[in-house]
Symmetry: C2
Subunit: 404 residues, 2 copies
């Protein structure tokens, strides 16, 4: 169902960060569903978390462990450990304690993450039993196995990797993500894990990640539902020969941009794998007064079930786009200044159908699998991009049958 | 597809207000698609309109005619005359002028309304040609024909009628509505037309209608999309023998309540006829700090595609309800105080699954066609009700095939 599924890229190993996976039998019997990531001593770790008020037990634990120099991540798919109360906290902590025991660290150095069905207790015995196997398999090359192990309704594994050069020395950044439904991340994606060998302090790494997440994961939406378990983590091992990245160093902007690129690639892959998606849609809102109104207009269009079903039907039903903009509660919106384009075809100008527009031309664009919609508000100079997908029979099917 | 479709009720004629319909061949070739309503001299007329910034040409015209003592309404289905620019305004005004010519009134006494596809010009010649026939057929008993003529994707005609008694004399209130998609009315429904023989000033009638619309049409949502053409009108002929209703009169609260009841019945019928609906869902948000947060929580749940598809699947997937509440951006929400019920079954308490809850009990409720969800926020005393429906394959089908 994915729209132009990207090939799984060559994943450059990151010195100092290794990955181990196994099958714990949580929901899957055949493919791996448990991932452990390990970083050498002396690195730094930053993370962003869901803003959903009902955040899951592992998110609570990961938040409280983030400033304890974490070196291990443990991620299970198949069960979100959300809405599980005190039992969920106990189960999450037990997982951390067991990893600490096995590797000789402390419980507070482990960040746990879970993804899957909400409201069921974690099968903690299965996880404890499986952990030694995951740890035994730790190597720096296990990226594809890791990407596979964190999938739920995803139809393909998502990865991105990049090597940047600074003064003749290299920094590697490699990451994975998962997510296909309950996707309107707010501060993070469903789950994203990025590793780099850069030497960088925790606060600066956190800055890079927060900025990157804001301009990547926070600009995508599949169904407008924000998960209880969203998180994105970046670990920096410090093993690269490039000198420490500081605010003053030239390398900072290069590194920060590279983290953003990785996040954008991972975020885009999530939209391409949107549940039931048949179209990949970029919504460019231009000429907005400020970022807020550009985002509101973009998201109102992206969430409109009528717009999404029109895309599914390849129907250039621009009246629905116009109606969505109109209900976005933008103050003093002058509809006569609005222009809407599908790719390079102007469909709306002066608030009504463009004179040059023909259904034939609109139809030709709508038949494509990838479409860029440009909305010019005629109010200012701010521009934002939101990525989304269409709404198909299969979205309903996938979500009507998810638990059964 | 409708959920417990109500029988079309006995529609009490309203003295002084008559209705005439005909087929103008706008989109339908067999059933009527044009309605004219006429009120005797000396009555009053109030209306509420869509808040969508892209409101349609007829809405602009109706707004500007509202204070000119309107006596005629003209409604066509099959074409919304929205996103049609100056041509749309000209076409709307031509319709008004032609009615005025035929009945001997003035153009500004006619309020036009249109519903149907957005972005196509009104087939004005067909409408002008058909108008005499509609006017010829004006009678006080044509309510069912009127309700039929304004339908688009509706699967049944919607009506409500009530006779109230004040000091031994009677007031009749009878109304019709339409709507099945693009429904999250903001100040009005898709289209609602109510007639009464009460004697009441325009400002007071407007008060009654605004209050009633706020507590009926503005509490329903099918897909979260607010139409460009929403409007609800009430005409009061003043033909009843009941003395004029004034703010001070005892009759005011009785009459106001009756208008609200009629609006609620019409609004509920719209939800039951939601596009593709298989379930009718009442969401009661209780113990909120204020009306605003109760409405936000209710609407976030009602718009969640994941909650809606779970209802379609009769799946008591309460994790999705909880995730929707959590993303509703309520400040300082203490999730541990939240309780959620499906009918009388407590599913969530203290922010996680209720101890007494069993999937069997949850499943039994979800299998029903009508379900009440109660969300107790544990913050205050305010209570609101939102009505909605589920999200099915047929919603996608109807909206993917609407124009083709």
């Amino acid at each position: 169902m994915a729209v132009n599924q990207p090939l799984f890229p060559k994943m450059n190993p990151v010195t100092g960060i290794s990955l181990g996976t196994t099958n714990a039998g949580i929901k899957q019997t055949e493919r791996d569903d448990l991932l452990v990531m390990q970083m050498v001593k002396g690195g730094s770790c930053a993370a962003v978390f869901t803003q959903n008020a009902f955040c899951a037990a592992p998110i609570h634990i990961a938040k409280s462990h983030l400033d304890k120099n974490p070196r291990w991540l443990v991620i299970n798919s198949g069960n979100a450990n959300a809405g599980t109360g005190q039992q969920g906290m106990d189960d999450g902590l037990k997982t951390c304690t067991e990893i600490a025991r096995l590797v000789g660290g402390s419980c507070s150095q482990v960040l746990p993450f879970s993804t899957g069905v909400i409201g069921e207790n974690l099968p903690i015995k299965k996880i404890i039993t499986a952990l030694p196997k995951a740890i035994e398999s730790l190597t720096e090359t296990h990226w594809q196995e890791a990407a596979n192990a964190i999938m739920t309704t995803d139809t393909f594994a998502k990865g991105a990797s990049k090597v940047i050069e600074i003064k003749g020395e290299k920094i590697t950044i490699t990451g994975i993500s998962k997510g296909a439904g309950m996707i309107q991340p707010n501060m993070a994606t469903m789950l994203g894990f990025i590793a780099t060998d850069a030497k960088i302090s925790q606060p600066l790494l956190q800055n890079c990640l927060s900025h990157a997440a804001e301009h990547s994961f926070n600009r995508i939406t599949i169904d407008g539902d924000t998960s209880t378990n969203d998180a994105c983590v970046v670990m920096a091992s410090g093993c690269s020969k490039v000198a420490e990245i500081t605010v003053e160093s030239e390398s900072y902007s290069i590194f920060s941009k590279a983290i953003e690129d990785i996040c954008k690639t991972l975020a885009e892959a999530i939209v391409r794998d949107g549940e039931g998606a048949t179209k990949f849609i970029r919504i460019h809102v231009e000429q907005a007064l400020n970022q807020n109104e550009a985002m509101i207009v973009g998201k109102t269009i992206a969430h409109s079930p009528l717009v999404k079903t029109a895309f599914f039907a390849s129907d250039p039903n621009w009246g629905r786009i116009l109606a969505a903009i109109g209900r976005a509660e933008i103050k003093n919106l002058n509809v006569e200044k609005i222009e809407i384009y599908l790719d390079n075809i102007c469909i709306v100008e002066n608030g009504c159908r463009a004179e040059s527009y023909t259904e034939l031309a609109g139809q030709a664009v709508m038949n494509k699998e990838e479409i860029t919609m440009i909305v010019k508000l005629g109010r200012g100079k701010v521009k934002e991009e939101i990525l989304t997908c269409d709404f198909s029979y299969d979205y309903v099917k996938i979500n009507a049958e998810y638990r059964t």
